[in-house]
Amino acid sequence: MNDEQRIRRVKQYLFQTAQKARVGHIPSSLSSVEIMYVLYNKIANITKNNANDLDRNRVIISKEHARLGQVAVLAEAGLIDLKLLDKFMCDEDSILGHDLYGVVSKRNIGVIDVACGSLGHGLPFGVGLAWDSKYNVYVIVGDGELQEGTNWESIIFIGSKKLKNITIIVDRNNQQIDNYVTNIVDTYSNVARQIEAFGFDVIECDGHNVYELEKAFRIETSKPKCIIANTIKGKDCQFALNEMGFGRFHAAPLSDENYQKVCQGIEVL
């Protein structure tokens, strides 16, 4: 199967899981599906065998709303059991929410590194994982998330210590829960120049293009690397934004009608 078909399958898992559990956060997940796909399948070199090792590369999804997308990507890549998707955000044996519970490795989801239920925690956490280590750490942050000050504290730290084994990926989709990022506090327009100013090499690319993303990850840079991935929030279900409004589009499950529409859309792709 080629990448395009595999991503289509990821999205199928994603929508099926969301619809089954009646949960939202689909648009946030769709925005970074390709980034996570590239990281887990081509870059990070995380396998089922080394999942519980202390010494391996790390992938942190700091924008916690993309958890749904993350488990879909992991299930498609065979890193977690497909049956776990049925238990996503449900009662009883549920293990996956915005954050993950208990000792994750005991639950066969050792591949998921950090439970970030709250925004602005992943990047500093990543600095700790990357410090004095030869393994790489990849942290996906949202552009809205960059309004949290802790991110910038870490960016200053990484820049000044020239920490080269941590890569920041900014999922730049210009939307947060209530409105466009530019309408609230603008961490969208100049984010590339802002991060560059702290001593980073910034690479900008299309966040939905697997080839471009892979290329960006493989480029060797002299300074710490930051990839600005331009994306669309809710790529395959954007039509729902007008109907649902910002808040509900971000957090509420899709209606059955919209779900059917999305399913057709994915197959046409």
């Binding site: 009883e92 549920s94 929410g97 239920g117 809205g144 947060q176």
Partner: protein
């Protein structure tokens, strides 16, 4: 309390009062402040996803003599921005009113990162801070009116999920009595007020005389009223979606211990040992509390501590289960006759069993 009510109550005052400012942390409520923000762009500040900054900005405004409301998710405006609340609001005695919405377990599926189950403890620890947790429409209105007059920091924990619409008189500095019975006293606040009302109505149907008290103001606590209740020597129960430390239960335990009383006391709170699950609110309430089933344990407790001079009769609990055997709802009533009168009940779906004996008044 619905979101619409917050809009009406808060914004009406903000329109009228020149000195009222709103600092808002991004969280799905912007639409309700839209008109206000357009009319007074300087009085409404949306700081984005930055709780710590929001509290400090608000404190700055407050030190210029303004009344500032910070609106944000309960967990984040308290725990996340704790140092800012401590230094900028509390120790400065700044006139900042923090409204934390979606408190308790209401953001159930989002996980423990979103639950506000330590907020009362954190905020009560701080000097100068007034802590309120209204559980009904009337309470929120009264607390809000009070917050406009009161000078100094205040935390209002507010819940969109469940709000009791029952009318009763509310005085912010005093505990509100919703039912004044004499068989047992249930003290509660926040979301559990509406639970308490439902539960007490069932108890009244079952022939009991419950006392229901809403402790909407947790700091300063109305100790006079609590002492009155403890002196009645009836079983006392507290119920709250909060960890034990710093909770209402711990405060009442302190009073009982310092006074050396022998009052039967059942604290119901979230036990802090099992944060490895998530799910719907109903599921979490069954699993996370220190008792297995809230209703049953209260009835059990009241029965164990019953007044021996009274007569008792049989008491039944009727449970309805879904296909997987999970409890959907339960009723209480006395005597088997009532059960037979309910013709529609399908025996396969319900289970009933003798629960105990309860007093006849």
């Amino acid at each position: 309390m619905t979101v619409e009510n917050l809009k009406n109550v808060v914004l009406n005052e903000a329109y009228k009062n020149e000195d009222v400012y709103i600092v808002y942390v991004d969280g799905a409520l912007t639409a309700f402040f839209d008109d206000f923000a357009k009319q007074f762009p300087n009085k409404f500040i949306n700081v984005g996803i930055a709780e710590a900054e929001a509290i400090s900005i608000a404190s700055g405004l407050a030190l210029r003599g303004k009344t500032v409301y910070v609106v944000g998710l309960a967990q984040y405006v308290t725990a996340r921005a704790y140092e800012q609340v401590r230094m900028d609001c509390a120790y400065n005695n700044a006139n900042v009113k923090i409204i934390g919405f979606i408190s308790g377990l209401s953001s159930c599926k989002a996980g423990y990162s979103h639950w506000a189950i330590e907020d009362i403890n954190l905020m009560s620890n701080l000097p100068n801070m007034t802590v309120c947790c209204p559980g009904s429409d009337v309470e929120f209105r009264e607390v809000f009116k009070y917050s406009l007059k009161h000078k100094g920091p205040m935390y209002i924990s507010w819940n969109t999920a469940k709000c009791a619409m029952k009318k009763y008189s509310v005085d912010v500095n005093k505990i509100s009595t919703i039912y004044s019975g004499f068989d047992f006293a249930l003290l509660t606040y926040g979301v559990d007020v509406s639970f308490g009302i439902d539960f007490c109505e069932n108890m009244i149907k079952a022939g009991l005389s419950p006392m229901l008290l809403s402790v909407h103001t947790l700091k300063p606590l109305d100790e006079t009223r609590i002492n009155e209740i403890l002196d009645m020597n009836i079983p006392v129960i507290t119920l709250e979606e909060h960890l034990y430390n710093g909770s209402l239960a711990s405060k009442i335990s302190e009073i009982i211990a310092t006074r050396g009383l022998r009052v039967p006391f059942l604290p119901i709170y979230i036990s802090d040992s099992k944060f490895n699950i998530l799910g719907s609110v109903k599921f979490l309430r069954d699993k996370l509390f220190n008792v297995k089933n809230i209703e049953n344990s209260i009835v059990d407790f009241v029965y164990q501590n019953k007044n021996k001079n009274k007569k008792f009769r049989l008491f039944y609990s009727l449970h309805k289960f879904d296909k997987k055997g999970r409890l959907i709802e339960n009723f209480y009533f006395c005597g088997l006759r009532l059960l037979k009168k309910r013709k529609k009940i399908n025996k396969d779906k319900y289970k009933y069993y003798l629960f105990g004996f309860l007093p006849i008044n």
